[in-house]
């Protein structure tokens, strides 16, 4: 199976503080689906930042799409980042842009044609139930709606790797299920998915691989959960 991401003895510390993550060893294969669980402060967000190339490890080796992350030249990072879709815990929507423009952002920076953008974004917004909020700015949307916009933005570019940090934290069960089905659909098309969540019920219902991050170390609990 094709390796999308692999970690070897990875450790992270901030300045001279203690290691937040230590001895991480894992591989994400193409088309795999993992849930990442762990208590608050266990290091889930730090691990996510490593994966979406916003942070570099202090030790160990990270391979992403076959490239050693430390050796990727700066001007090649955007092309690699375009293969990664990220749903941030705090959404990070751009407040002065409409729902449509927020979702279209990854396509715009990739230089996709306007016509194509309009078609794809409109379709996706209908799918996530935001077809009637296409021209609304984030401040006019509820928390759940903002979260769906963030998810739509993460998946609009059909990423090879989808990383989601608490993607269902602000939505009701019905919408949460709908969003998870969207992630599954993408997964079936070959997208590797890693979802950090507290929602144990959701994890159990979908039955994918489960990792537990505890005190900075990673444990595979797929079969013990």
């Amino acid at each position: 199976m094709t390796e999308v991401v692999s970690f070897r003895n990875v450790g992270v510390r901030y300045e001279s503080g203690p290691e937040i993550l230590r001895d991480l060893n894992f591989t994400l294969h193409r088309g795999s689906f993992h849930f990442l669980t762990g208590a608050s402060g266990a290091g889930k967000s730090t691990l996510m930042r490593l994966l979406y190339l916003a942070l570099r490890q202090t030790r160990g080796e990270i391979n992403i799409f076959g490239r050693d992350n430390i050796r990727i030249p700066r001007d090649e990072l955007p092309a690699i980042r375009r293969k990664i879709g990220v749903v941030f815990q705090d959404f990070r929507l751009i407040n002065h842009l409409t729902t449509f423009e927020n979702v279209a952002l990854p396509l715009r920076v990739a230089g996709v044609e306007d016509l194509q953008i309009r078609k794809n974004v409109t379709e996706l917004l209908e799918w996530v139930g935001l077809g009637d909020q296409i021209n609304a700015v984030p401040s006019r949307l509820s928390g759940g709606q903002q979260q769906r916009v963030a998810i739509a933005r993460a998946v609009i570019g059909r990423p090879a790797l989808l990383l989601a940090d608490e993607p269902t934290g602000n939505v009701d069960d019905r919408i949460a299920m709908r969003l998870l089905y969207l992630f599954e659909e993408l997964n079936k098309l070959g997208t590797t998915v890693l979802i950090a969540t507290h929602n144990r019920q959701l994890v159990r219902r979908f039955g994918h691989n489960q990792w537990l991050l505890e005190a900075g170390t990673l444990h595979d609990i797929t079969h013990s959960a």
Binding site: Y52, L53, A54, L55, R56, R74, D75, L77, P78, A79, R81, R82, V86, R92, I94, N95, H96, L97, E101, L105, P106, R108, V109, A110, R153, G157
Partner: protein, 300 residues
């Protein structure tokens, strides 16, 4: 120059720099325009003065040692000296014209100070010989010849004071050129400051754009377009302020008898003035782009 070819993902229009930058650019461009107009006027005058250095000179023949003579006898002696000088210098190479200033012209020149003709004719006033030299005329040779013909005669070629004024004017010209450079520098620094402030304000959006795969050039392009627009707007305002003010100053100068510098009507000068907003906007655009790229290179 396309001001807006794609939607801006950075809310730069709401920044304080959006108000600050056009104002500072307008001020700089107004000062820049004044400097350029001043430079043109001064350059014109220096050119004219330099022409005058070669354009005219005069010889004073004073009635030295004739104080005790009768006026008629004194005038005859002076006339003889003047005639002698004119005769001997007339065939000197490089002199296109030599003639004595007529008594009427002398009287007219002296009348404001000495009163009516009758008094002038009774005073021991020097005679003046005017010479129009050709280009490249040898002044030193003239000075030597004059010393041989009439040692008491004084060659007044206006060169010293005109040269001094021209030197001062040239120094002012250099100072104005330096001022233009400083103004450009100050404009660029203002752009750098505004851009850095924008980068700092929008750091989270810039980080987001990076994370979704935006190239540095894409982000820098947004700042560059924004600053191009603001600087062009500011420069137009500055120009619209400076030109009428310069016109009023020129009008007041004309009323005071100053000559109008012909250079300000030349196509080169008009071209330079028209180019100011475009050059300033282009410089602002490039400065913003380079500043953003330099800062982004330090980010992951």
């Amino acid at each position: 120059m396309a001001f807006r070819s794609q939607p801006s993902h950075l809310p730069l229009d709401s920044d304080s720099s959006t108000r600050f930058l056009p104002s500072i650019v307008a001020l700089m461009v107004a000062l820049l325009t004044f400097s350029i107009v001043g430079l043109a006027a001064l350059h014109d005058s220096v050119g004219k003065w330099s022409g005058q250095i070669e354009g005219s000179l005069s010889i004073q023949v004073p009635p030295t040692g004739m104080a005790d003579r009768e006026p008629e006898e004194r005038e005859q002696a002076l006339q003889a000296t003047v005639d002698d000088i004119i005769e001997q210098l007339a065939d000197m190479p490089g002199i296109s014209r030599i003639e004595e200033l007529s008594p009427e012209t002398m009287s007219a020149l002296l009348e404001p100070w000495l009163g009516p003709d009758e008094i002038v004719s009774e005073l021991p006033i020097p005679r003046i010989i005017e010479i129009t030299p050709e280009t490249g005329f040898n002044f030193d040779m003239l000075e030597r010849r004059l010393g041989e013909i009439a040692p008491e005669a004084v060659l007044d070629d206006h060169r010293i004071w005109i040269e001094r004024i021209a030197d001062v004017a040239f120094s002012v010209e250099l100072a104005l050129m330096a001022l233009i450079v400083v103004l450009f520098g100050a404009t660029m620094l203002s752009v750098v400051f505004a851009t850095r402030s924008g980068l700092s304000i929008h750091r989270t959006i810039i980080e987001l754009l990076h994370l979704i795969g935006a190239q540095d050039s894409y982000i820098a392009g947004q700042f560059a377009r924004h600053n191009l627009r603001l600087a062009f707007f500011g420069a137009l305002i500055g120009l619209l302020i400076a030109l009428p003010v310069s016109g009023v100053i020129a009008w007041l100068g004309m009323r005071a008898g100053w000559p109008i510098p012909t250079l300000v009507f030349s196509p080169l000068f008009i071209g330079i003035i028209i180019a100011i907003p475009f050059v300033v906007a282009g410089v602002a655009q490039m400065t913003a782009k380079r500043t953003v790229l330099r800062v982004l290179r330090r980010m992951l």
